[in-house]
């Protein structure tokens, strides 16, 4: 491959190969080798970074400002760290309306307050018209490690919880793009997951935020690390009617849709009910549900299986390419 294609950026096999061949080869060290979204460093520090290129900038329920705070904050939370400090890098296209920037900053301010983080440093660059699409934001975040996710402790019978209805962020962005000629009362689920932090002390073994690639991608990645299979039930997966409807119309599988304020949690079997109740007690977790479990059958080690509404089983495979580009 002599040129970087759009497909590389969509997170599938090309991306994985790229990471292994280019990134790891050049920069290898024990922290990087974990290939985690947040690096767990000495001095109890967790560090993460992400770039935000969402198109359009504003969508129902959020904008690039809310995204650039919550996306980074959530990566820290699911790694077992309390988010504390952010650094923001802005690349702004010449000619961007000042008012747009003001609105974005307003959103960043509110999101940071909600997530209890401070914007401590940053950088601003302006490039010529046409050399960036309005604004790109890179957010790095530092958090204090307060828990240690422990996949090795996961065993058959442990439950899988999803903290709310799926796919709303993706569809909100699609609606905002006015593509496919469809409208729906869907708002992005973009939100900080701080309310999940105390659950690390209550029997939660592992968490991941459900972003690009959706629920299925997250669980496939988890299953890959386990000597067990993961089984989930289609009937239990929380989906709001407009998301269900939009997905049917467009022939999209909601299990692969990105969210920006939902997490998947693996919890000890003994703690499932109390953890679920605590999540549901929070406004952001009202639609949470137990959707499946770690299992020895059906399925082989490393597989994610779905029990369909018809009672049959099917295996969920990794997404090979982006369903929707520039979603976050």
């Amino acid at each position: 491959m002599s040129k970087i294609s759009l497909e590389l950026g969509s997170g599938g096999k090309l991306m994985r190969d790229f990471i292994n061949e280019e990134i790891l080869q050049n920069f290898r060290n024990p922290y990087l080798e974990e290939l985690a979204d947040a690096a767990l460093l000495p001095f109890n520090i967790a560090l993460t970074t992400d770039s935000y290129t969402v198109e359009p900038l504003f969508f129902p329920g959020g904008d690039i400002g809310t995204l650039c705070v919550n996306g980074t904050v959530n990566d820290l939370i699911v790694a077992g760290a309390e988010p504390r400090f952010l650094a923001l890098s802005l690349i702004i296209e010449e000619g961007l309306e000042k008012e747009t920037l003001t609105k974005i900053f307003h959103s960043i301010k509110n999101a940071a307050q909600q997530a209890h983080v401070l914007i401590t440093t940053g950088d601003t660059k302006v490039v010529r018209q046409g050399q960036a699409d309005k604004i790109f934001i890179t957010t790095s975040g530092v958090g204090e490690i307060i828990a240690h996710p422990s996949p090795p402790q996961i065993k058959p019978g442990d439950k899988i919880i999803v903290t709310g209805t799926l796919g709303e962020h993706s569809l909100a962005v699609m609606v905002a793009r006015e593509e496919f000629g469809f409208e729906a009362e869907i708002k992005s689920d973009c939100a900080p997951l701080n309310f999940l932090l105390p659950l690390w002390q209550e029997g939660v073994l592992w968490m991941r935020d459900v972003t690009r690639g959706g629920l299925a991608s997250v669980l496939i990645e988890l299953a890959d690390r386990l000597p067990y299979s993961i089984t989930i039930e289609e009937e239990t997966i929380p989906l709001s009617p407009p998301v269900r409807g939009a997905c049917e119309f467009l022939g999209i599988d909601p299990l692969y849709l990105a969210c920006e304020g939902r997490a998947v949690i693996v919890v000890k079997a003994t703690a499932q009910n109390q953890v679920l109740q605590k999540i549901k007690a929070h406004p952001q977790g009202k639609t949470a549900a137990i959707i499946g479990e770690v299992a020895t059958s059906p399925g082989k080690a490393g597989e994610l299986l779905l029990k369909t509404i018809s009672g049959g089983w099917r295996r969920l495979e990794p997404l090979t390419s982006e369903l929707l580009p520039r979603i976050c």
């Binding site: 040129k3 294609s5 759009l6 497909e7 599938g12 096999k13 593509e179 496919f180 000629g181 467009l250 022939g251 059906p298 399925g299 082989k300 597989e303 299986l305 779905l306 029990k307 369909t308 509404i309 018809s310 009672g311 049959g312 089983w313 099917r314 295996r315 969920l316 495979e317 990794p318 090979t320 390419s321």
Partner: protein, 367 residues
């Protein structure tokens, strides 16, 4: 219409099917689902293993437009968008991932000012042409009779509105001819057909009659919900038991016996039959459609002098052709699951959401 997905209804129908196959000789009963969307639905609901346990083997047929469109069309589209400026190539999603000798539409690097745009409806391509008068919009229109009238209608509107920057790169296919080719070749034993519900909404019941009359094979038109599919299979088992070859309509809420007259009329007005080359099936006479002469200026093949001379090209070892004929099952292809996986597809049957190989790979968790 919740009954269509009701757990109780579905398990009852499965029970009934089991009772019926228990009384039939020569199991498994081999039923070809013609339409890619049926393949997708059967896979999505995990029905295939459930049916296999009850003596029914489902064969995937040629009704997957992504699967049967030869590489030459994709290569022409790729060439168009990567060597010409100011082209917007509008296309349906999974067409962009079919791997050819020159890569896929998705990995193609467009020329300056050109782009590939994924659309859900051909209307969007028309809107693009109106919104971007300085660009040439080419709609890569691929489909069977369900989609063909809509594609044709957009060209008609383009002409009525005198749009000069709109054209159609067409790969339009008709369902009955490949079915004749498949049963004539006697490559595969087929006991019954499941006919595509929405193609039938357009063409009606009559076009399938020859399969019952000339080849003695019963078939049922049906919808795409699990209960629709199972109900149709149950009815087909009755016909098989009685030795009656008929075309039955189990989708009467949508399919009128005569089809959709407006849609048929548009097709007759704007399109003419042509011989066409199908991946895996070769040349089939009068099996494709193209724009009539008075719509030539909207035919992208003519407008851009694209030379599409399809031949049986495929990546080495790919046996999608035999899969599409129902001759082999995906797992018999030596590339299946090894070199050919959803992450690195070697042929369209592994790319398309409706492809047999992809469905097989995904649901067959027992292998």
């Amino acid at each position: 219409m919740n009954e269509l997905r009701n757990r109780q209804v579905i398990s009852s129908l499965l029970e009934i099917i089991a009772h019926k196959t228990a009384t039939l000789p020569n199991l498994p009963i081999r039923i070809m689902e013609v339409c890619g969307t049926h393949t997708m639905s059967i896979h999505r609901h995990g029905l295939r293993p459930l049916l296999e346990e009850r003596g029914i083997e489902m064969l995937s047929g040629p009704g997957c437009p992504v699967c049967i469109t030869p590489d030459a069309y994709h290569e022409a589209a790729i060439k168009l968008v990567s060597t010409n400026s100011n082209i917007i190539l509008a296309t349906f999603g999974d067409m962009t991932r079919v791997p050819t000798r020159v890569g896929s539409l998705q990995t193609a690097i467009p020329a300056a000012g050109s782009q590939v745009k994924i659309v859900y409806s051909p209307i969007e391509s028309l809107n693009l042409a109106k919104a971007h008068p300085e660009q040439e919009v080419v709609f890569f229109g691929v489909g069977f009779e369900t989609t063909i009238p809509s594609i044709a209608l957009c060209v008609k509107k383009a002409k009525e509105e005198r749009l000069s920057n709109y054209s159609l790169l067409s790969a339009l296919w008709i369902i009955p001819p490949p079915l004749r080719a498949i049963v004539s070749s006697q490559d595969t034993k087929i006991d019954a057909f499941l006919y595509p519900g929405h193609v039938s909404a357009i063409i009606g019941e009559a076009p399938y009659q020859f399969l019952a009359d000339e080849f003695n094979i019963p078939g049922a038109i049906t919808g795409f919900e699990p209960a629709d599919i199972l109900l149709a299979i149950s009815s087909l088992l009755d016909l098989i038991k009685k030795g009656r070859a008929e075309v039955i309509n189990e989708y009467r809420r949508v399919v009128a016996p005569q089809g959709n007259p407006q849609a048929l009329q548009i097709m007759a007005e704007m399109l003419v039959e042509k011989d066409a080359f199908w991946r895996g099936l070769g040349y089939i006479p009068q099996s494709g459609l193209k724009l009539k002469d008075n719509y030539q200026e909207y035919d992208a093949e003519i407008k851009f002098s694209l030379e599409i001379s399809p031949e049986e090209t495929h990546l080495p070892g790919c046996r999608c052709g035999e899969v599409l004929r129902g001759k082999i099952s995906p797992s018999s292809c030596p590339l299946f699951g090894q070199a050919c996986t959803p992450a690195s597809p070697q042929g369209p049957c592994m790319v398309s959401f409706e492809g047999a190989c992809l469905a097989f790979y995904k649901y067959d968790y027992q292998n």
